[in-house]
């Protein structure tokens, strides 16, 4: 398996707190790599550094062999690296379709077009609808994003990430706030996506993690405590004590 | 020369404290409650006019002050009841529009009631002397009282905001009012009281400066922008920031105005220096603000990610 993402000794401090404390990790092309760990372990912060939202204090991020440590978010997205947010970040005053269409637009030609009606771009809209279809929000396309229920917003969050046509998808708790049927649907979606692209998945829903992940890394206090197959990680007593609890 | 420079530094600082005194009510309402109140200037003006009226009526400064303060408080309560409480949850722009409307109404109201000519407020006997200061310059005792009032409001506000539960609730309410209410706090009442308190502080400032500044229908507008500048340079929501910014503005304005032309003359010929100096002097405060925000986009002590 060729490595698509390689993290070398990444470091980030907030004041005295080492949130990312020398993380090294590699994710192969096509792999679904889950990152789990206690709350506040630094998972989201790690994603933020991979996506370019935060600048690391030290270390390197390689993507497809290229050093992207100092690229900004937009440049990384253009290289096919997309993320979803744990704390929902949408465009509340725009419709669900527009939310996704904007993501499509970002990857299809220049946005410095001042005259033609963007709402009428059929190709863009079609791609956006396809992404909505995948997450199960197609019938909500014309609703304002702010009028979605929390769970629906979580679904939209994923649709937007998908619409940027990523090669590497960084998902920060995509299942949080969705339950029952919707959760199953999203798990099935990730199962399908697995064959098409590489995914780094942060999730506290252990059923989903063990079902989906090829490999799992456990992050504790900013450092990788264990990496391995789902079975190995589940069996690791340290992981059980620090994170899973007894009944997992 | 050096003595004069020190003296001007002091003058700048005292002007800064005076600015802070006027801005104090606004730090509460704008800085903490996150409400853009353009009408702060007219509240300040109303305070001064009430002071002029009551002091004139009673013939006594202190009695006038004792009457003017509750009067501005009541005025603040009435305004809050009629207008402001409907605006807390609205956008900044709605607040701008409404308070702009209030400026027009209140300043016209003041003109109708009191006329356009400036009014006088007699200084109290107790504070009217002056103390000798460097050389022939005497320093008015009243100004020392103004400085004391400014410092007192700074300390008082700082303690209120950072070290009382009311302060916490205010900050919490500014970011998410419904949530505070849902946790069992009558945030509307708190906001009402604090708003009225802010109005009273504005009125207090107006009443205090009335004996040294002109009480006229333009007094609120001329200082309005400066008070916002002070708060923004300091960083919205920071009392400490507002206080330091006020002093900074006072010093830069005063020292730049008096020494700018001299310094410019060192680098260019006198007539060009005079010309440039004259152009730059009124810009100083704005240059300062632009520079601060350039290097620190949320002011000196503003919170990262804050609005």
């Amino acid at each position: 398996m060729a490595e698509l993402l390689e993290i070398r000794d990444l470091r980030k401090n907030f004041g005295a707190l080492a949130v990312t404390d020398g993380v090294s990790l590699s994710v192969g092309e096509g792999e679904l790599h889950a990152i789990i760990g206690p709350n506040g372990a630094g998972k989201t912060t790690l994603i933020a550094q991979l996506s370019g939202q935060l600048a690391p204090d030290g270390g390197q991020v390689l993507y497809g062999g290229e050093d992207i440590t100092h690229l900004d978010m937009a440049a990384r997205v253009r290289r096919g690296l997309a993320r979803s947010f744990q704390i929902t970040a949408l465009l509340p005053g725009m419709t669900v379709l527009e939310n996704v269409a904007l993501a499509v637009q970002a990857r299809s030609g220049s946005s410095f077009r001042f005259w033609r009606d963007a709402g009428g771009e059929e190709i863009t809209n079609a791609q956006a609808r396809a992404a909505l279809e995948e997450v199960g929000l197609a019938d909500r396309a014309a609703v304002l994003a702010s009028a979605l229920s929390h769970g629906e917003q979580r679904q939209l969050e994923l649709a937007v990430a998908l619409a940027t046509k990523p090669r590497l998808l960084l998902l920060d708790e995509p299942l949080a706030g969705t339950g029952g049927q919707e959760a199953e649907r999203l798990i099935a979606l990730m199962q399908r996506l697995k064959s098409r692209l590489t995914i780094v998945l942060i999730e506290h829903d252990m059923d989903a993690v063990f079902q989906l992940a090829d490999r799992i890394s456990v992050l504790v206090y900013g450092a990788i405590a264990a990496t391995g197959t789902p079975e190995a990680v589940r069996a690791d007593p340290a992981v059980r004590a620090a994170y899973l609890g007894e009944d997992a | 020369m050096f003595n004069l420079f020190l003296l001007q530094l002091l003058n700048g600082a005292q002007f800064g404290i005076l600015l802070f005194l006027v801005a104090a009510g606004l730090t509460l309402v704008f800085g903490i409650m996150d409400f853009i109140n353009l009408a702060h200037g007219v509240l300040y003006m109303v305070g001064a006019y009430l002071m002029a009226t009551f002091a004139g009526m009673t013939g006594n400064y202190w009695l006038g002050l004792m009457l003017a303060l509750p009067a501005t408080l009541i005025f603040g309560l009435v305004l809050e009841f009629l207008v402001f409480r409907r605006l807390y949850d609205r956008s900044h722009l709605d607040q701008v529009l409404a308070t702009f409307g209030l400026i027009l109404m209140l300043s016209e109201g003041v003109r109708i009631l009191w006329g356009s000519a400036p009014l006088n407020v007699e200084m109290p006997e107790l504070l009217s002397g002056s103390v000798p200061l460097a050389g022939p310059l005497k320093y008015p005792v009243y100004r020392i009282a103004v400085i004391a009032a400014g410092l007192a409001s700074a300390v008082g506000l700082w303690a209120l905001i950072n070290h009382t539960r009311a302060g916490m609730l205010l900050r919490a309410g500014a970011s998410n009012r419904p949530m505070v209410a849902a946790l069992g706090v009558d945030i509307s009442r708190l906001f009402m009281l604090v708003f009225a308190g802010g109005a009273m502080l504005a009125g207090f400032a107006g009443a205090i400066v009335a004996p040294i500044l002109s009480v006229d229908p333009g007094m609120g507008e001329s200082i309005l922008i400066l008070t916002f500048v002070v708060i923004v340079i300091g960083g919205v929501g920071s009392i400490r920031g507002a206080f330091l910014a006020a002093i900074l503005v006072g010093v830069v304005d005063t020292v730049g105005r008096t020494f700018g032309p001299i310094w410019l003359r060192m680098v260019m010929d006198p007539s060009a220096a005079a010309q440039t100096g004259r152009m730059l002097a009124p810009m100083l405060v704005y240059l300062l603000m632009a520079a601060v925000l350039f290097y620190s986009p949320t002011g000196l002590f503003g919170r990262r990610g804050a609005k």
């Binding site: 907030f14 789990i36 760990g37 206690p38 709350n39 506040g40 372990a41 630094g42 998972k43 989201t44 912060t45 744990q86 704390i87 929902t88 009028a147 979605l148 229920s149 929390h150 769970g151 629906e152 708790e173 949080a176 706030g177 969705t178 339950g179 029952g180 049927q181 919707e182 959760a183 199953e184 506290h204 252990m206 620090a242 994170y243 899973l244 609890g245 009944d247 | 539960r165 916490m168 609730l169 900050r171 919490a172 500014a174 970011s175 998410n176 419904p178 949530m179 505070v180 209410a181 849902a182 946790l183 069992g184 706090v185 009558d186 945030i187 509307s188 929501g237 919170r303 990610g305 804050a306």
Partner: protein, 230 residues
């Protein structure tokens, strides 16, 4: 202690609740279930006065609270862990906890620190400088600090690590044992069925099923399939 009667509410032109009936007795754990967008959060918001009641009635301890202000309802004994955390970003962790705290029960700072040691480590952090899960803990802690007699938790375990989630469940059991009532909304139906007394299922703004825990476990009427798809 709580009775909701034919409650109707909505946003702007859109009505969301169409006559919700719900009751919670003292010392009882009740769940509100339903798929995304069925009106669970809307019910909670209306209960707390964050949305106006369009029709129907809300009673707390037999007192009509339909038109009361949010704070009055909370003071009547309701505590809220809102959906989406909604911690105060510009307050420190500790300030978040004490700002709205009320005495008169077992919960104080020490008890919260004991429940969530992680929060104590971060006590000087601002609310928005917390991880998602830490914010969630803070939201739970903040509600507990008001020492409520009825705790309403809207997706309170979202984003929490399994261990912490278990902590919260056992904590809720403790609260219940101390005599408080609980109304809980959670995606984690299995955990709920472990300690809840009764359940309500919402579908399109109406209660379509209600029953005891035993009914749910026995899946009387195929609730899970029909309304929850689990």
């Amino acid at each position: 202690m709580l009775r909701i009667d034919s409650l109707e509410a909505g946003y702007g032109a859109a009505q969301v609740l169409f006559g919700v009936n719900l009751e919670v007795a003292a010392g009882e754990v009740v769940t509100l279930m339903g798929r995304n967008g069925m009106g669970k959060t809307t019910t909670v918001s209306t209960l707390f006065g964050l949305l106006p009641v369009r029709a129907g009635r809300i009673e707390i301890d037999g007192r009509d609270m339909t038109r009361a202000g949010s704070h009055a309802r909370a003071r009547a004994g309701l505590g809220l862990v809102p959906e989406g955390r909604q911690v105060f970003p510009n307050l420190t962790v500790e300030e978040n906890l004490v700002a709205t705290a009320r005495r008169g029960g077992p919960w104080n700072l020490g008890a919260i620190w004991a429940l969530f040691p992680r929060l104590e480590e971060r006590r000087r952090n601002m609310g928005d400088q917390l991880s998602g899960g830490e914010q969630q803990m803070l939201a739970v802690g903040r509600a507990l600090m008001t020492n409520p007699r009825l705790v309403v938790l809207d997706e309170a375990t979202e984003g929490l690590a399994p261990l912490i989630r278990d902590e919260i469940w056992s904590c809720l059991t403790r609260i219940r044992d101390e005599g408080a009532a609980i109304l809980v909304i959670d995606k984690n139906a299995d955990a709920l069925s472990r300690f809840a007394d009764r359940h309500y299922v919402l579908e399109k703004g109406q209660v379509v099923w209600t029953g005891s825990n035993a009914d749910l476990l026995a899946d009387a009427g195929g609730v899970k399939d029909r309304f929850l798809h689990v």
